[in-house]
């Protein structure tokens, strides 16, 4: 797979490390979340067959975190974003 890095351009996916579903950006609020919320956040996944937004880390490159939209049935990558931009759009401070 080739990942079209927003800053660096097309890079081999072997340079990256995979974390998982990008829903992990949306962490429960530690002041109000219940143990059940944390369980669901830490352990349950949608695991869709089709479009999947996921976190990749450019470990062998500029060490940026990316949110990649990829089809799990075809491995086709349709969108690559800087994770920080995505998180800020969701209201996170960083």
């Amino acid at each position: 797979m080739i990942i079209n890095h927003p800053i660096l351009g097309p890079r081999d996916s072997a340079e990256f490390t995979y974390l998982g579903d990008a829903a992990m950006i949306d962490r429960p609020d530690p002041d109000t979340a219940s143990p059940q919320d944390w369980h669901d956040y830490a352990y349950l996944r949608d695991n869709p067959a089709g479009t999947h937004r996921e976190l990749w880390w450019h470990e062998g490159g500029d060490r940026s975190w990316l949110v990649i939209t990829r089809n799990t049935l075809t491995h086709e990558i349709s969108k690559v974003e800087i994770a920080r931009d995505v998180a800020r759009k969701m209201g996170r401070s960083k």
């Binding site: 996916s13 490390t17 998982g20 830490a42 349950l44 996944r45 695991n47 049935l73 075809t74």
Partner: protein, 416 residues
């Protein structure tokens, strides 16, 4: 029809006109006591033990494609019970014992071959860890044997003993481990279950569950609604896809694992060998091909094919311990979809929906577990209580903190 040597000779002399299909091809009945979704190794094994051990009479196995066409038809065929943790080892040892009696139980030649498995040790710390694992295995009634360097040189003279980076320091052997003809496992269980009255319904896709007031009443399929008192799902690899139809999210990600077969060679490998410093395992099939594999590709996938970086990594692992493998040509390679769970261990449990049961999360160790998985799932479906060897495989272990994490990797499925 019972198979026997006498039957083979008789048929050979009479033009092979007396063989019948090994299982029927029935249309679904409107209602069953128990429906099992998934006609793979685990689903068919469940049906066999339900009928034979638990005396269930009205059982159906529903399969989207043809039976044995999923991961039981695309794996590296290794059986072993060399686990460390209490939640796992008794279960896998139970499975290995069932493998040892499988062919007599099924009256089917599954080519169970206890040619042994040997895990190589490359550092002093690894030796300590493997000896500890060997002791855990023996405490649970399994066999384990520590091999020193001289024994390894004698038994496996072709290994690379001159590797400065990953020197071979010893090995942990399980002589009762080995390989099994994987397709024959599915066919043998199917034939046995069918002969005991289980309906095996192929080319019938489950499109949804009928759930009313928190109780599962049956399944919607491409052949119409089929009612059931209890529904068991055994579709590892596609568990996320199936269970989402019941509104469930699972502690599982689907990942692709690649495997490889070389051209046929004369016998060169005495058993299964695993590399302890990278991830590489290899055995030789009875047809002569070297069957080997390594790591997951590492990202969510349902594509049943992987990418080239892992091919390179696996082949590097092979060359590191067994340079002669470089002389063999690769014949074919494939990818299968694994249910990678959050702690690397499986789940055999009820769901929060009455009458709906789940078997999955086998990571890439499902094949060796086939008999015990079927047995334990049959026990759960018939008795509504977990089998004594599978009491740890519950959904709620992630809530209570009782994870069964052999490698200590945490909730990162691609690292298990």
């Amino acid at each position: 029809m019972r198979y026997s040597g006498f039957k083979v000779i008789k048929e050979a002399l009479t033009g092979h006109k007396g063989w019948a299909p090994a299982w029927r091809d029935p249309e679904p009945q409107p209602h069953y006591d128990i429906i099992i979704i998934g006609g793979g190794g685990h689903g068919l094994a469940t049906a066999h033990y339900l009928a034979k051990v638990y005396g269930e009479k009205k059982v159906a196995v529903i399969e989207k494609g043809w039976i044995g066409g999923g991961n039981v038809g695309r794996n590296t065929t290794i059986i072993r019970s060399n686990y460390l943790l209490d939640g796992n080892e008794p279960f896998y040892e139970f499975s290995l014992k069932l493998w040892e009696g499988l062919e007599q139980d099924l009256n089917y030649n599954a080519m169970v071959s206890q040619r042994g498995i040997m895990n190589l040790i490359h550092s002093d710390a690894q030796r300590d860890a493997f000896i500890r694992r060997g002791n855990a295995m023996m405490l649970n009634g399994a066999d384990a044997e520590y091999l020193d360097l001289d024994q390894i040189k004698k038994e496996y003279p072709f290994l690379n003993f001159n590797d400065a980076r990953f020197p071979i320091k010893g090995g942990l052997a399980q002589r009762r481990g080995g390989t099994v003809r994987h397709d024959a496992v599915a066919w043998g269980y199917a034939r046995s279950a069918d002969s005991r009255g289980v309906d095996i319904i192929q080319n019938c896709e489950v499109t949804g569950f009928k759930i009313k007031n928190g109780k599962c009443l049956g399944v919607e399929t491409s052949k119409g609604f089929i009612g059931a008192n209890r529904v068991g799902c055994a579709v590892a690899g596609s568990s996320g896809r199936l269970m989402s139809k019941a509104g469930m999210r699972l502690p599982i990600e689907s990942h692709v694992l690649q495997a490889f077969v070389s051209e046929g060679l004369k016998p060169v490998l005495p058993g299964v060998i695993t590399f302890g410093a990278g991830h590489f395992y290899v055995s030789q099939s009875d047809k002569g091909g070297l069957v080997f594999g390594g790591d997951l590709d590492g990202y969510n996938s349902y594509a049943q094919r992987g990418n080239l970086p892992v091919v390179e990594d696996v082949c590097e692992g092979g060359m590191a311990i067994m340079p002669m493998i470089g002389r063999a040509r690769l014949l074919r390679m494939w990818g299968g979809i694994m249910d990678m769970s959050m702690d690397g261990s499986p789940i055999i449990d009820r769901t929060h929906i009455d009458g709906l049961y789940f078997n999955g999360g086998w990571c890439y160790g499902g094949f060796k577990a086939t008999p015990a998985s079927g047995y334990a799932f049959a026990h759960l479906l018939a008795r509504d209580a977990p089998h004594p060897t599978a009491t740890a495989y519950r959904f709620n272990r992630f809530e209570t903190g009782h994870m069964i994490d052999e490698k200590g990797m945490g909730n990162q499925p691609n690292l298990h």
